[in-house]
Symmetry: C2
Subunit: 173 residues, 2 copies
């Protein structure tokens, strides 16, 4: 019995070691990037972190929401974000509101048009060790996953936000 | 002593009667407008209805949140909104994000600056009968209540959104 237990422990340890090697990306081989491939359920009902508008090609207005782990970390000013943190960025086409402008009597009001995409950052320092502990995911407006070439651009860009654990969005008071 | 107490009670009762008359707004006299005078607790953690940007003098970026009654009504497409609905509009100064622009390599990113005000609409068809069943409230950035002259402008403006029960904001999908 003791021997079997020992063997099992050994196998488990080896499996752990392999998983760790493949995920951390050994220096002598290219690390396969891992992305978020499934939308976390219920994210539309999460609490608000902040809002944003991007001009230019993006031409978006967005809301950034967080699960309870994310909101707690933000409200307590805790960095780095703990494992289990999920941040969702909901993007919509940036459109003028004709209705509102009519009431205001001038063109000044911009609101969300149709959704354009939803992006996620999931903190799991083991699973996503190769990309700073964060898994990135981009979902198109029809719910399909963004293509890999595009998603490879998430991490190098976010890596520039080192002082805030790769997260650009600050908590709106 | 007894006499003084009686007088005080009488004055208090009369004051109450006057307050009640002025608040219910009898048909034969001008209804005094009633406003929301206290911020509903916990509103910052409510769920997201939508986001918006106003140009011009307002120069704001905002998030519109709702209590559970509001969110349920929105998600079920229920109109008019039931009593108990509370909608909160959090407004912030609309500012460029130098941090984000540096990463993007161009000026395109706008985020919330300091808060400017918070506005509420509370549905109570009896209490706020004189203003379409909605109580309106505007709180300045320091938490003080907006002045009455300003708050009198809420209802006539919102009254133009008759088909959506005086609410301008649509639910962002």
């Amino acid at each position: 019995m003791k021997r079997i237990a020992f063997l099992l422990a050994a196998v488990a340890t080896m499996a752990g070691a392999f998983a760790s090697v493949s995920q951390s990306g050994r220096a002598d081989e290219k690390a396969a990037p891992i992305f978020v491939t499934q939308m976390p359920p219920g994210y539309r009902d999460w609490k608000l972190i902040s809002v944003a508008h991007e001009e230019g090609n993006l031409n978006s207005i967005g809301a950034v929401l967080g699960n309870d782990v994310a909101i707690k970390a933000y409200q307590e000013g805790k960095l780095p974000f703990p494992d289990g943190t999920i941040i969702a960025a909901l993007h919509f086409k940036y459109v003028p509101s004709e209705e509102n402008n009519k009431v205001f009597g001038r063109s000044q009001s911009f609101v969300p048009g149709p959704p354009t995409n939803v992006q996620f950052m999931i903190k799991d320092s083991r699973k996503y060790a190769a990309t700073g502990g964060w898994g990135f995911g981009h979902f198109n407006k029809d719910g399909t996953l963004g293509d890999e070439a595009f998603m490879k651009t998430c991490f190098p860009c976010h890596a520039q936000a080192k002082s805030t654990d790769l997260v650009f969005t600050r908590y709106a008071p």
